[in-house]
């Protein structure tokens, strides 16, 4: 099988994502964990871009690597966990359990994904449809038009969820007055 340049890029970023994720799980310093997780997010954003989801890729960098991880780092600094962190990796029994759980999940998902996948549209039609739609509405319109027409009720529910979470975060984190 001919390996194309896109596939080489995919394998490179997949290796980066898996390596960063493993480093994130195994580092003891919480700040190092956050940094490796940001690396994973950047690699996954590159893979989103390779899969043709350009807007999702940039939103991944802006929202996840930009906003959420800054929030994590801010809390780590606020609680002063970066300097005197304790060894928080559990013992051998837990490690075996974790490895077993990971292998079990990979096996389950491999069983689901491993067989011949149903492709009602064929192999080529899906990406071509998506490319036509994004040429019609633009890369942002590809997501924006369904978001504000078909998914308007979930969008409003998400707005309420964000409001509740903002109020909840303030109520939980403030000191008793």
């Amino acid at each position: 099988m001919q390996i194309t340049f896109t596939q080489v890029l995919f394998f490179f970023f997949a290796a980066c994502a898996i390596g960063s994720a493993l480093a994130m799980v195994t580092r003891k310093n919480p700040v190092a964990c956050a940094m490796w997780l940001i690396g994973t997010f950047f690699s996954v954003a590159a893979i989103f871009t390779l899969l043709g989801a350009f807007f999702i890729g940039i939103v991944q960098i802006l929202v996840y690597a930009g906003a959420i991880m800054v929030l994590f780092l801010f809390v780590i600094m606020l609680l002063n966990l970066g300097n005197d962190y304790e060894d928080d990796i559990r013992g051998t029994g837990w490690k075996i359990m974790a490895g077993g759980a990971a292998l079990l999940i990979i096996a389950f998902l491999g069983r689901v994904f491993g067989g011949e996948l149903p492709r009602p549209l064929g192999v080529e039609a899906g990406p071509r449809l998506l490319a036509t739609a994004s040429a019609e509405n633009g890369v942002v319109g590809l997501i924006g038009v369904p978001l504000y027409t078909d998914f308007i009720v979930p969008l409003q529910a998400t707005a309420i969820l964000l409001l509740v979470s903002v109020v909840g975060a303030v109520v939980l984190a403030k000191r008793k007055v």
Binding site: T6, A14, L22, L37, L51, F72, L79, L109, L117, L129
Partner: protein, 102 residues
């Protein structure tokens, strides 16, 4: 156009999800547990994007936006909980919070 097979993306998604699960089991720091949950959500986003591409519809990508919103809300509330718990116990180990344990 269709250069990356669907199974590659789904396999990467499964591996990242499994690493996140292993992290939740093996770590004892509440903040790192939240990071592992974020990693799992990201793996699910990856399979959403890959399947949306194969399906030829943008609905999967719209759902990624929703998942990201829920992840942001979860991170905000979760970190507020972490701050509140740290104030009471001076530690972040989940083993120290046993009030609701029977």
């Amino acid at each position: 156009m269709n250069e990356i097979p669907l199974s590659y993306s789904l396999g990467l998604s499964a591996i990242l999800f499994a690493i996140g699960v292993a992290g939740v089991v093996v770590r004892r720091n509440a903040i790192v547990l939240f990071m592992c949950v974020e990693l799992m959500l990201n793996a699910v986003n990856l399979s959403f994007v890959a399947l949306a591409r194969m399906h030829g519809s943008a609905s999967g990508q719209v759902f990624v936006i929703f998942v990201m919103t829920v992840a942001a809300a979860e991170a905000a509330v979760g970190l507020a909980l972490v701050i509140a718990l740290f104030r009471h116990r001076e530690t972040l180990s989940p083993d120290a919070f046993t009030l609701l344990k029977w």
